[in-house]
Symmetry: C2
Subunit: 345 residues, 2 copies
Amino acid sequence: MSDNTSLLDIRKMRILQAIVDDYIMTAAPVGSRTVSKRSDMGLSPATIRNEMSDLTELGFLEQPHTSAGRIPSEKAYRLYVNHIMDQAKLTDDEADYIKRHLDTRVHEVGEVIRQTAKVISDMTNYTSMVLVPQLSSMKVKRISLIPVSEGSAMAVVVTNTGVTKNSMISIPESLSPDDIEKISKLITEKLDGHRLTDAIESVLPAIRAEIGEQADAVCEMLEDIERSMSETDVEVVGASNILDYPEYSDAQKARSFLTEVETGNYLQQVLKDSSDVEMSVRIGTDNDNPDLKDCSVITVTYKAGGKNIGSMGVVGPTRMDYGKVMAVLKYLSNSLSDILSKLLK
Amino acid sequence: MSDNTSLLDIRKMRILQAIVDDYIMTAAPVGSRTVSKRSDMGLSPATIRNEMSDLTELGFLEQPHTSAGRIPSEKAYRLYVNHIMDQAKLTDDEADYIKRHLDTRVHEVGEVIRQTAKVISDMTNYTSMVLVPQLSSMKVKRISLIPVSEGSAMAVVVTNTGVTKNSMISIPESLSPDDIEKISKLITEKLDGHRLTDAIESVLPAIRAEIGEQADAVCEMLEDIERSMSETDVEVVGASNILDYPEYSDAQKARSFLTEVETGNYLQQVLKDSSDVEMSVRIGTDNDNPDLKDCSVITVTYKAGGKNIGSMGVVGPTRMDYGKVMAVLKYLSNSLSDILSKLLK
DNA sequence: TGTTAGCACTCAAGGGTGGCGAGTGCTAAC
DNA sequence: GTTAGCACTCGCCACCCTTGAGTGCTAACA
């Protein structure tokens, strides 16, 4: 991958940068004259043409048809992101915008997540997505069971970091509300400090010892809780932004993008898969999802208390303003981590 | 409104019906020949033309340009929905589809709501929305406060119908977890059988009498709970379906529709406003929202235990298959009411 | 040897033209 | 009251031509 660098001399790199930069702005094939006109280039169109011809041969550029300009290939975007691109910094205005819109007084995790997704989407004008903090890696502080009706209860799990999640579970009819309260206390006591995923193996024996008769029922409940807690939620904002980009002016293309985003399965998987790499960039067919073959997905992680607890990202056309998006995501990763670290203290 | 009926003789009505039916199917202006060819009409194009000319004068039809056919006006859709349209019944296949896809074994309200929204959208191919059951009209059975971290707790409200809702609230630092548990028991006891909205006026004095010192803090908490509980959630599915209709092939139009649906404020308001009329139909500019001026919104209510507890509906182009949508919604209103009545018993 | 000017060539996009067909309104006859 | 006939309108489409942006190649130049 990084061998690519040695394949290209500095001039080719600069020309490729010019082409990618221009194409990201305009979505129109870039011609030699356009590149040559860039003040800092100092080469005639003819020379540029020769270089562009080489770049095409090397697989970095493509030609929609003979007499059109060139457009960058996926390979070009990868090189661009890894070696060429200017690392953008946010302007003061942009940093300001984030500060004003991430309200640190909000005291609910879900609300902060939604705000963050909104800010990402507003600043980049692409589709943003934020995974809500994952419980699986955290330690349980408390599990409350609240009787709701015959045969059902709400389970609320609170972790040591203060992240909460709740879900309805079914309970055996044989358990009275009092029993439930007792069990609720008991499992909180036993699970305190353990991961939920370890619950069944490590803690159940102890529970079984104390409540012989109902043990099976409790075991089932715990499994139920564990199952529902491992379900992930993801907040998606700005899906319709895609319609601002001419490559999606075709209703059919837009439709398949939006359907994919609406169901969200693939993107959720990407966020989960990337939740341990600080920043990941998937360009075009890196996404093994045909509906997103002309899209790029960039993700970053966020932390609380120094530990990764979730990830967030952006989906947009392959012709994406990588510099800007990466800068925004990096900045917001820090902001969100700060806020959550305080919030979940 | 129903005066319109007397303005039109039966033949005009039948012609108008033919035109609306055809336009709903094809989205193309309907000409006199097309109407005449309908087997049951038995009139020549020329006669139809005369009638169409009258209908245009009366404001039921519009002409995009001289030599095009006619398209129905909003006024025509209103007449069509109220007096002309054949009341469609679902086919056996469709009823079957619903039975198979509304899994009655699911025991969580939220999940049932999501399924319902999905089914509506799949069957109609428009955008569906379902308001989750509203607590405001129900009586409280239990309020649990679960300490999460210093200064914050999760409040879980359970109503007598078994609907639950939870939210984070902030609590005074001075309250210990034990205090919270005590208060949780106390307010459950006092509020049992009351509406949450009455809580503060009717119940607080009693609470105040029992816990003098912390009463203000508790009062604030209750207000906080009440506020967050009155927030409504709405499940929206199938927004991208709009791209299947040629009137939204223009990216700009599609964009404004999708943005409006994505933020959801207006539609949420409509659902809330219509939560006491069995079925409501808003056609075009009935929606005082410029982004939806070419859309129609149809809503129905659903019940549990004989009482309206929420509403759901469909948004789509004004050229909407009203008969089908109304049939689907009516059927699903019953199904959902049945399921919820059992679920929330 | 690298750079550049010149030139012939390609091809998409845009504008103009004309025919086609769906539709209308009017009139006159049944 | 209904209908056939007819002249007229106008959007759509296919066709053609022009334009212009862009290319590749070649030959000359530093």
